[in-house]
Chain length 308, copies 2
């Protein structure tokens, strides 16, 4: 049984935690322990996020004034190296008899994706309006308000194709636990002459994991985060934890655009396209999620909703 795991950036750096290497290392060690148990019984592919990390790289690039900050495709590639290495090492330490590898992964997006005309993903630090406008003029950044500050916003286009898919397949055939599509993949466009070129964007890693799972004919997509279930009426007095839900019913509900929304969209698409199951839940309850005892299962096996 093949499971594609989408691992939230917060499984690596907790929300608001200082971005020290040491913190990241400790969190990755805990994550590896949880994933290690999963990998003993199932074949797994891991797609991790890179939100905090690509943000840190962008800040470090900004801070060193002698070299122009590197573009987002290159920073995405750097983040695949940074995070892939840590997961690969810690998970390898958990599983001495398995090979755990990281494959740099380019993900094709459409140059005409409406996301390029409507950058929405904020990255990097907050600025005053004046600073932000100055940077926008100097560097051609799009900026948008974020609370009382302003931030750079970048496009987050839909993943269309996984360039290294054949290699991912052959790594799986060798039995390797494969870390790929990190940070949603390095965003590239395919030009008219069929060559690839990097483009400034950050792809949503849940969408990329969903596409990889579909292309690999995975048996399940697991979206692991720091909440234990999807909730109906989240944060309201009538909030209810969802145990099982059909993608059709899920599509009629509305969720927060920035956080749960993309996970719902990504997992529902996988289930609709493949008729397999997806689950959203807490990383540390992953084995219970498979047994239907934790998390929210999205499945066509039922027509409506089942609550906890």
């Amino acid at each position: 049984m093949l499971i594609v795991v989408a691992l939230g950036g917060n499984a690596l750096l907790e929300r608001g935690q200082p971005m020290e290497a040491e913190n990241q290392r400790k969190n990755v060690a805990k994550t590896a322990k949880a994933l290690g148990e999963l990998a003993r019984d199932y074949q797994i592919v891991i797609c991790h996020g890179n939100g905090p990390q690509v943000g840190l790289l962008a800040l470090q690039n900004d801070a060193y004034k002698k070299v122009t900050p590197y573009p987002l495709d290159v920073l995405g590639a750097e983040s695949q190296g940074m995070i892939g290495y840590m997961i690969q090492q810690e998970l390898g330490n958990q599983l001495p008899n398995k090979s755990v590898v990281t494959l740099l992964t380019q993900v094709v997006v459409d140059q005409d994706d409406p996301a390029f005309g409507d950058p929405s993903k904020p990255i990097g630090p907050v600025y005053s309006k004046e600073e932000a406008e100055k940077l926008s003029r100097e560097r051609g950044w799009k900026i948008a308000p974020d609370g009382k500050y302003f931030r750079r916003v970048v496009p987050s286009p839909q993943p269309q194709d996984i360039v290294e898919l054949p290699t991912i397949r052959s790594l799986l055939a060798q039995g390797a636990i494969t870390i790929c599509g990190g940070g949603g993949g390095i965003p590239v466009i395919r030009k008219r002459d069929n060559t690839l070129e990097g483009i400034e964007a950050v792809i949503d890693k849940d969408n990329t994991a969903s596409l990889i799972a579909e292309k690999l004919n995975a048996d399940m997509l697991l979206i692991l985060t720091d909440v234990s279930t999807v909730c109906e009426n989240f944060g309201k007095p009538n909030e209810r934890k969802i145990k099982k839900i059909s993608p059709k019913v899920l599509a009629e509900m509305s969720f927060a655009r920035g956080s749960m929304g993309p996970k719902i969209t990504a997992s529902s698409r996988f289930v609709r396209h493949t008729h397999e199951k997806a689950a959203i839940g807490n990383l540390f309850e992953v084995l219970d999620m498979l047994r239907g005892k934790a998390g929210t299962m999205i499945t066509e096996e039922i027509d409506g909703i089942e609550y906890y």
Copy 2:
């Protein structure tokens, strides 16, 4: 015929060239063209250097004061992402029918390697003597001359083992052009309980390429740099360009530590251990090197030296 190519960091960023992404991209495109011609006729494995790049990452880490600079093993992993991506994309664009992949690679070193007490590997940009001495005082860097400039130097222990070797083998069996051991590999030690842990160092990529070539039973090790041959009495009036040389004679000559020295050591070891050939020369003369018309060939086929 399998060739392991060791690609100098200077094939990606020329000595003294500003470390702009754009410059790197242009150089990688030229490099990919040269390697593309090689890859049409031979199966190749690419180990690239990362001296300038890991140095840049260290400077960017230093410049951003809110987070402690990440250790050199993590920066090495980042540089594998950065450089691997660029080479993979540009080389893939040259060879649309081949798959070109980058595998994150950990390389085991000995915690007691004497190199940890004697830093010798130059990283980052070149500085004037005054600048370098100032940075050494301010940041506790070790510095050393590099040509007419000065650079930061870090420990460069000998590579002992390639953790991901089985995966490199299976990628080659699939026909993939494999970029691995980038920047000499991510330096790790193997602890008593057999787990791996990163360590602060930068492994010499020529040594790593030599070890990979030996372990893969490669037919040839090609060390590509920005000089056209190894020279006897380099820089002196009686300088002579060496065409062919036996590893035994080469071992009796002396070369600059930190630049030509490691290339000589790495290529000689490969030839002595495998009785195959190695060559050192200019990236852009790579096809002529294979024909014996450029570069310096190290081979047991002759007993002494042959000059141009």
